[in-house]
């Protein structure tokens, strides 16, 4: 037995705890359940004490962290449910199925709460495309997202993609989904009502995904990683689509008491979590679980076969529930019932194989991990950037930036995703935020994801604040008021003090930024052990921001809308090349300090922009981020098919003005006659407006620094990714 607990990923102390809880040695099945439920992936045992500092409340938050997804009230009797999570390790082992089942999992989290999923966004991080393996992983992940998401009829409307050598050994596949529901349809993953039936719906259970949470998600990569392929689940989007429709119909008819999806740790997790949340026990007979192949109770309890749901149903409504599932062609069987007390009892052909307190599974151990500031920070932060020699051909630099993997056009990716189905997407991919109309209202949601890990690597606290600020800024540029956020925190091994320090600092940054900007964190996910052969990825917190656009007519895109408009910069440009894409691409350095962020200034600039849009002054808006002002201006020109002639009056040297990634800035357009009004709006918030020139013509001209044709810039940006993928 001692060997088995180790093999399953439990420590000796944890094993002793289990014996203490049970007052006896656990059975093999029980041990399997604890190993999964107490894995880092399911229990958050390292992160929980740190995450407790996140602000999670606001008057409009209907559901914060702890459920399958966070939910906010968007008015008019409607609510939006959303969450982000990771599927990093499965995707690194088997990219297509790993990414596909990532989509399946996050979508289930949304309709499990009673919401119809209306969009997905996928933040992806890969290593260098010069490596054939990375190109294989990239193509596989994109195809997996497309294959699964398109089949479901849920548009993939956004995301971001970064490439950096730090992901060579451990790619990141984060997935975010958002759904809309009438408030009264909100349902939770709770089992209540002694005597109620426990119904298992959806796919049959098989041996795929056995031990995914403990073996795959909670360990680092090494030479045995490929052998973990059997731990990757296999996706069946058709069944998931049927599950969505069947579950939403069951909820619409008010036939369910509780609903929970089966994800990591399968039946073990679904039963123990629903029972623990409801403060009840549960009695399950495993012989009733529909199986694909012959399996023993251990395997059934820990299988992570996809597209399964657990529903709690009152006996009098059972027939109607089963009939509805049958109509959708979905297997659905009663596997047990809700009992008094808090014991989870599992039977196998009448023989009791598990008897454990449900709450002991659902609330695992908690660790206060040691944290120590990593040594590399002093070195990278003190890099002398002033001594750098800058190239003189700035046109060349700009074209090189936008033909590099990080800033090139991602059309080749998002055109593989159905981003239009459901007829809600009113700002298509390629802008700062995706905008989804809410049918039957005049409102829309603006959604964006953001996370520049280079900044976080150089300064975990400040870099994470930037992720929050920039995600919010993207939403603002689209005309939305940021409401709430979700996040996925991707880090290395938390048992290493230097990694855990990064994590703690990053979460502190997230908490401070969210609190300052009054943005509740309503859901999220932590992914540790993103390392291979002892090398961790850059710390990569990713923020998913949801905002509300009050009236559809105030939505904005980044595109210069017409000729003859004033182009202006809101906010100040500073000499801040640290951590920039320019520094990386031209000088091969990831060094310095990331741009400074003053949250008070950020708020002022954002409110100026929102107000300017609301009053119809600002006609297009684009935040300045990677690549700086130059890349932002280029993107505005390319999106609108309109050039601009601009003059910059600055004490900075040209590369600094063009490529510094200073925060709290927007490139906006407006009519000449509105410039005074915008300046007044800005001045009342101590924000500066810099009028740069006018839109028009077919070239982007910035003083005597930049002079490029819009068509050429477009062509260079658009063909880049295809070329990079050819290797």
């Amino acid at each position: 037995m001692t060997e088995l607990y180790e093999e399953l990923g439990l420590t000796e102390d944890e094993y002793r705890d289990i014996i203490r809880i049970l007052g006896r040695e656990p059975s093999k099945v029980e041990l399997g359940m604890y190993s999964l439920m107490w894995s880092e992936h399911c229990s958050y045992k390292s992160s929980k004490p740190v995450l407790s500092q996140l602000p999670t409340r606001a008057s409009y938050v209907l559901q914060g962290p702890g459920e399958n997804a966070g939910i906010i009230d968007i008015g008019g009797g409607l609510a939006a449910a959303f969450k982000m999570e990771s599927h990093n390790h499965p995707s690194a082992v088997e990219p297509y199925q790993g990414a596909a089942t990532g989509i399946g999992g996050i979508v289930r989290d949304i309709f499990t709460m009673g919401a119809r999923p209306i969009a997905c966004l996928d933040p992806l991080r890969f290593g260098s495309l010069e490596s054939p393996r990375q190109r294989y992983l990239f193509s596989g992940v994109v195809a997996g997202i497309a294959g699964y998401g398109n089949c479901l009829g849920i548009p993939t409307v956004g995301g971001d993609i970064y490439f950096d050598e730090c992901y060579d050994g451990n790619i990141l596949v984060n997935v975010m989904a958002i759904g809309i529901m009438p408030k009264e349809n909100l349902i939770r993953g709770q089992a209540t009502g002694v005597g109620n039936a426990v119904v298992l719906m959806g796919n049959r259970t098989g041996r795929d995904g056995i031990g995914g949470a403990s073996i795959l998600a909670s360990q680092e990569f090494d030479e045995t990683s490929q052998e973990k392929r059997p731990s990757v689940q296999v996706g069946d989007p058709f069944t998931e689509k049927l599950l969505i429709e069947a579950c939403l119909e069951l909820l619409e008819k008010n036939l369910l008491v509780g609903l929970q999806d089966l994800g990591a740790a399968g039946i073990s997790c679904a039963c123990s979590e629903t029972a623990a949340r409801g403060g009840v026990g549960m009695k399950i007979e495993l012989k009733n679980v529909p199986l694909r192949e012959e399996m023993d109770p251990f395997e059934i309890m820990i299988s992570e076969s996809q597209e399964r749901m657990l529903a709690i149903v009152e006996p009098r409504k059972l027939d109607e529930v089963l009939a509805t599932c049958e109509r959708w062609g979905l297997p659905a069987v009663v596997i047990g019932e809700v009992t008094e007390g808090d014991m989870l009892e599992i039977y196998w052909y009448g023989e009791k194989v598990v008897e454990v307190p449900a709450s002991s599974l659902a609330s695992g151990p908690v660790y206060e991990r040691a944290a120590e500031r990593p040594a590399y920070l002093d070195e990278v932060q003190s890099a002398d950037l002033a001594a750098l020699e800058h190239p003189s051909d700035l046109n060349r630099v700009l074209l090189d930036l936008v033909s590099g993997p990080n800033l090139c056009d991602k059309r080749l990716v998002y055109e593989q995703y159905d981003h239009m189905v459901q007829l809600n997407t009113v700002v298509y991919p390629g802008s700062d935020a995706a905008v989804l109309r809410v049918k039957g209202t005049s409102k829309a949601l603006a959604v964006s994801v953001d996370g520049n890990s280079r900044y976080v690597y150089l300064d975990p606290y400040g870099g994470t604040q930037i992720a929050v600020a920039e995600a919010a800024r993207n939403v603002v540029a689209a005309g939305g008021v940021p409401m709430a956020l979700t996040n996925c925190l991707n880090f290395g091994n938390p048992e290493r003090p230097d990694i855990f320090w990064q994590f703690k600092e990053s979460v502190r940054g997230l908490a401070d930024a969210a609190r300052h900007m009054e943005l509740p964190v309503v859901s999220g996910n932590v992914s540790f052990y993103n390392e291979s052969f002892g090398t961790a990825i850059y710390p990569t917190p990713v923020v998913g921001m949801v905002g509300l656009i009050g009236t559809l007519s105030t939505r904005r895109t980044i595109a210069f809308p017409e000729e003859g408009l004033v182009v202006a910069m809101l906010g100040d440009t500073l000499d801040e090349l640290g951590g920039s894409e320019y520094l990386r691409l031209v000088h091969g350095m990831t060094a310095g300090r990331p741009p400074a962020l003053d949250l008070e200034v950020e708020k002022s600039v954002q409110t100026t922009c929102i107000e300017g849009i609301r009053r119809g002054i600002i006609l297009s808006a684009h935040d300045c981020s990677e690549g700086g002002a130059a890349v932002a201006l280029l993107e505005c020109c390319c999106a609108g098919g309109v050039g601009a002639t601009l003059e910059v009056d600055t004490p900075l040297q040209p590369v600094s003005w063009l490529f510094s990634e200073s925060q709290s800035r927007f490139v906006v357009t407006l009519r000449e006659e509105d410039l005074g009004a915008l300046e007044d709006l800005a001045a009342s918030r101590q924000v500066r407006v810099y009028a740069l020139g006018r839109t028009g013509g077919s070239r982007l001209i910035v003083g005597d620094w930049i002079d490029l044709g819009v068509d050429e810039m477009k062509a260079v940006r658009e063909e880049a990714l295809g070329r990079l993928l050819k290797g």
Partner: protein
């Protein structure tokens, strides 16, 4: 006019079609469940896009065996108006209600983007509101839209004016560069012999509202409504 939107397990554009017919066209519309065998209440049947039965065997290959398809075939045989969009088109091909077959896109990837299609025959129930040669901007979203047929079929389609839409450039030129999926002769939509059955890969329901970026798809809906009314 009453539309019936057929729902197969795995359809995913049925709500979009329903939305446009109900909220934009303001016509009567019901969902028709795939097990339904009586479609006599409808003036036009819509087979929507999606992934019927997951498209697991071959697009549309399983859906054609749904009970409703026999009713659809009878309805079509009696001259009833049937439009198959994307997966609906694939199902009509599999069911033999339209000739030819679909291959995977030559890129081997799913493609979702606006496409330009030229109206090759404006004298049909589906295109009478458009001009001959008019270029429509309508989105496509498919992995298998590479239409193919044998020589004789292609000749007959061309001869009889049953090639309704061809992929083209924004200027209306039908070129290889404007062909998104490798479809033979840039074919994007065809009709059956009686012109009452229409299959097309582009999604007119995605181009029926200003806010979505194009209203060119409305021409197709308006055509069939005009045709219905003229028929009395």
């Amino acid at each position: 006019m009453r539309f019936g939107v057929v729902v197969f397990p795995g359809s995913n554009c049925e709500m979009d079609c329903h939305h446009v017919i109900d909220k934009v066209l303001r016509e009567d519309v019901d969902y028709v469940w795939h097990q339904q065998t009586d479609v006599s209440a409808y003036d036009c049947l819509v087979l929507p896009g999606g992934f019927s039965y997951g498209d697991y065997l071959r697009c549309g290959a399983i859906a054609r065996f749904s009970p409703v398809m026999e009713a659809v075939a009878d309805f079509a045989a009696e001259g009833g108006l049937v439009i198959g969009i994307c997966n609906g088109f694939q199902i009509l091909l599999e069911a033999g209600l339209l000739p030819g077959a679909m291959l995977r896109n030559t890129s081997l990837s799913f493609i979702c983007r606006f496409s330009s299609v030229r109206v090759e025959n404006a004298d049909t129930p589906w295109t009478n509101a458009a001009r001959q040669g008019q270029v429509l901007r309508v989105p496509i979203a498919h992995g298998e839209g590479n239409y193919t047929a044998d020589e004789a079929t292609l000749a007959a389609l061309a001869e009889e004016g049953r090639i309704i839409l061809r992929y083209c450039g924004e200027d209306g030129e039908v070129t290889a560069a404007a062909n998104p999926n490798g479809s033979v002769d840039n074919i994007a939509g065809i009709c059956g012999e009686g012109f009452n059955v229409f299959g097309l890969m582009p999604h007119p329901e995605r181009a029926s509202e200003e806010i979505l970026g194009s209203t060119d798809g409305l021409l197709i809906w308006e055509s069939v409504m005009a045709h219905y009314r003229s028929r009395g």
